[in-house]
């Protein structure tokens, strides 16, 4: 067990270094406009994701449970989710520039994880449930998707301001496509956030006798859900596409971050361990 946790420790720091290196390569790719650097950055990020997966597996085996139960584990998994979703979008839409914006966010989140206590503690009885895996893993995918949509929103907003249009035209999808990819990412996030809320409600009903009790974390998940539901309705009703949608995606992610970090620190409730 200790050996596995030690290995996780080593892997975790290697992963931080790889994500840092990937961020650097992405920046150089944009700065020097060399495609090889973009490819190297994707490769390093992919390697980082593989080792990150291994680190989480080691943590899970070492702790004898899913590594999703405290601030450190959730932050590390959140970074993993962001990395996974961003790589899927990079490959799916042949869009390496996305990495240049996603990698710093991943680095930020994993940096936050590194600042948390990494001690392996026994789980409190309420967390010993098979719903834990469903609830938290869907939250990771949801947060990761919203993160990617915010990054895409930022790229959308910056795209027009870039001087070297040739490079941007070659490596960044057209605005309409960018907007649609961001929309797809929000859809994925909203679906998984709904899964998170519903699996959480089922679990809360079993553990606490109430599937909804207006706990700050529950309330802010609902606020996030309502914000993205508004975003989807505005797209249809008022044709809020393009710039307005991009701003909305960024604001929505700020709300996601508040739900994740802000609620834990400012509004303690029954989710204060998460």
């Amino acid at each position: 067990m200790t050996a596995l946790l030690n290995l996780e420790n080593v892997l975790f720091y290697i992963v931080i270094c790889l994500y840092f290196l990937a961020t650097l390569c992405y920046f150089l790719f944009i700065g020097l406009k060399r495609d090889a650097l973009g490819k190297a950055a994707i490769l390093i990020q992919t390697l980082g994701l593989a080792l990150h997966t291994a680190a989480l597996v080691c943590r899970g085996l070492g702790a004898g449970r899913l590594p999703l139960t405290n601030q450190y584990e959730f932050a590390a998994s959140f970074a993993w989710g962001l990395c996974l979703v961003s790589l899927i979008f990079i490959h799916r839409f042949k869009f390496p520039v996305l990495g240049a914006f996603a990698a710093p966010v991943i680095l930020l989140v994993i940096g936050y994880a590194a600042m948390q206590s990494r001690e392996v503690r026994a789980l409190m009885p309420a967390l010993r449930s098979s719903w834990l895996g469903f609830h938290v893993s869907t939250a990771i995918i949801a947060y990761g998707s919203f993160g990617v949509s915010a990054v895409l929103g930022l790229i959308f907003l910056l795209r027009e301001r870039m001087r070297d249009r040739g490079f941007w035209d070659l490596h960044v999808p057209a605005r309409e496509k960018l907007d649609l990819i961001s929309y797809r990412s929000v859809c994925l996030g909203l679906l998984f956030l709904s899964f998170t809320i519903i699996t959480g409600a089922i679990w809360a009903e079993q553990a606490w006798g109430s599937y909804w009790s207006w706990d700050p974390k529950e309330t802010w998940s609902l606020v996030t859900w309502l914000i993205y539901a508004t975003y989807l309705h505005l797209r249809i009703r008022r044709g809020w596409k393009g710039k307005a949608a991009a701003i909305f995606a960024v604001v929505g992610f700020v709300c996601v971050l508040f739900t994740y970090v802000g609620v834990n620190t400012l509004l303690p409730g029954v989710h204060s361990y998460a």
């Binding site: 026994a122 496509k177 207006w214 309502l226």
Partner: protein
């Protein structure tokens, strides 16, 4: 009047409600809930406290305007779904009708064979017919059920809110606490709860693994013939009896208070931490404040009240007596854990759950079963003109279609 109905079921109204509800929820999470005027005044100012109470912000999620907003949201969802139903049925029917194939988002001309494109886009096997001009027409429609996504999602949310509201209005909820061996009346209900056993299971390192209570629920509706159901409640595994779910909610320390006179026990009461007992016929009350464990030694923190005034506080160790009550011999002993059981009966939880699952299904249909149509017409020169439309696919669908057509043509040549 018609205009009002239209507005109440409109998307504009829905957006307004979503924004206000989000703001209200966010506000409600920042303002501490359930405090009184003095507490708010101490925290903020008297003026702010007055404003909080006047607007019902001390109980945002149950105040009249929040409930009204939620009711409006339900009305909006219902009206929206009712008004869209005929249109949706028409669109679903039209999706399979070749006469309705119009307004393509992409048109590709000069194709030699459209079938590989249908296959590349994983469209159902195309059907063949003739267009109004008599030309050969092949068409295929994928995921017409996707048109129903938003409608199904709205229905799910409606059921979810309805289940939650009905559950809140009709639920029966009681809490009972005690130590093993005690039987307690369950609130004002005809039930009693007997705590047969309560265990705290621990890991090898001492960490708590599970709290588990063995219970018997007695239905005393007919005192001559009481019914009994045995059940076990542990964290994450509620017990059940007579339609109630029994949750292992909490636990704490308890002890037995014994009063002796001349060596004979004259009063014996089980007190949980925070509870008090009046001693015999005296004005003295004894409150059990805490149970202290130091190695093998067990102590009981207590407070003595005369009327409502605190007279003394101290710690009595196991085996000692509390000195203030001579000639009575008063002592705490038998420190043990008490369990707090929550009994709840909410008949509408399954409705809320169903609503949640339907919402998920609706979102899946809306986002991942996107309707798209593809149709090809054979021109006089033998080439095919391919047209496609996907309301939600937009530029991505157009790109995929062009790519598929390009690949099909390359392979053919």
């Amino acid at each position: 009047m018609k205009k009002l109905w239209k507005f109440l079921g409109s998307m504009r109204f829905a957006i307004l409600l979503l924004v206000i509800l989000a703001a209200a929820c966010a506000g409600g999470s920042f303002i501490p809930q359930g405090l009184d005027f003095q507490a708010y005044a101490a925290r903020y100012s008297e003026r702010t406290a007055g404003l909080i109470l006047a607007l019902g912000l001390e109980d945002v999620f149950h105040c009249w305007w929040f409930l009204l907003l939620t009711a409006f949201l339900c009305g909006n969802l219902l009206l929206c779904n009712l008004s869209r139903l005929p249109q949706l049925m028409k669109r679903t029917k039209a999706a399979a009708d070749p006469a309705q194939l119009s307004a393509p988002s992409v048109t590709l001309e000069g194709l030699r064979d459209p079938d590989p494109v249908f296959a590349a886009l994983r469209m159902p096997k195309p059907r063949e017919g003739a267009d109004p001009q008599g030309r050969t027409l092949r068409w295929s429609v994928k995921n017409p059920v996707g048109l129903w996504g938003a409608w199904v999602c709205h229905l799910g949310i409606l059921l979810l809110i309805l289940g939650f509201a009905l559950g809140q209005a009709t639920k029966e909820e009681y809490t009972v606490y005690g130590v093993p061996g005690q039987t307690k009346q369950v609130g004002d209900s005809p039930y009693a709860l007997c705590i047969r056993d309560f265990r705290v299971e621990r890991e090898a390192d001492g960490a708590v693994a599970q709290y588990s209570a063995e219970l018997t629920v007695l239905d005393l509706s007919d005192p001559g013939d009481p019914l009994a159901v045995d059940t076990t409640a542990s964290v994450n595994h509620p017990g059940s009896a007579f339609g109630f779910k029994l949750y292992q909610n909490s636990m704490g320390d308890a002890a037995t208070l014994t009063v002796r006179w001349d060596g004979e026990t004259v009063q014996e009461t089980v007190l949980c931490v925070g509870e008090h007992a009046t001693l015999m016929d005296t004005p003295l009350a004894l409150l059990l404040g805490s149970v202290i464990r130091e190695g093998e030694a067990v102590g009981y923190g207590y407070q003595i009240y005369v009327g409502e005034e605190l007279y003394d506080r101290n710690v009595q160790w196991e085996g000692d007596l509390i000195p203030d009550f001579q000639p009575y011999q008063v002592s705490f002993s038998q420190a043990r854990a008490y369990t707090l059981i929550q009994m709840k009966r909410d008949r509408f939880t399954p409705l809320a759950l169903l609503g949640g699952l339907i919402t998920l299904l609706g979102l899946f249909l809306a986002f991942y079963l996107q309707t798209c149509k593809l149709w090809a017409v054979r021109e006089a020169d033998g080439s095919w003109t391919l047209r496609g439309s996907s309301p939600k696919g937009g530029a991505l669908f157009a790109e995929r279609l062009r790519e598929a057509a390009r690949e099909a043509e390359t392979k053919r040549s």
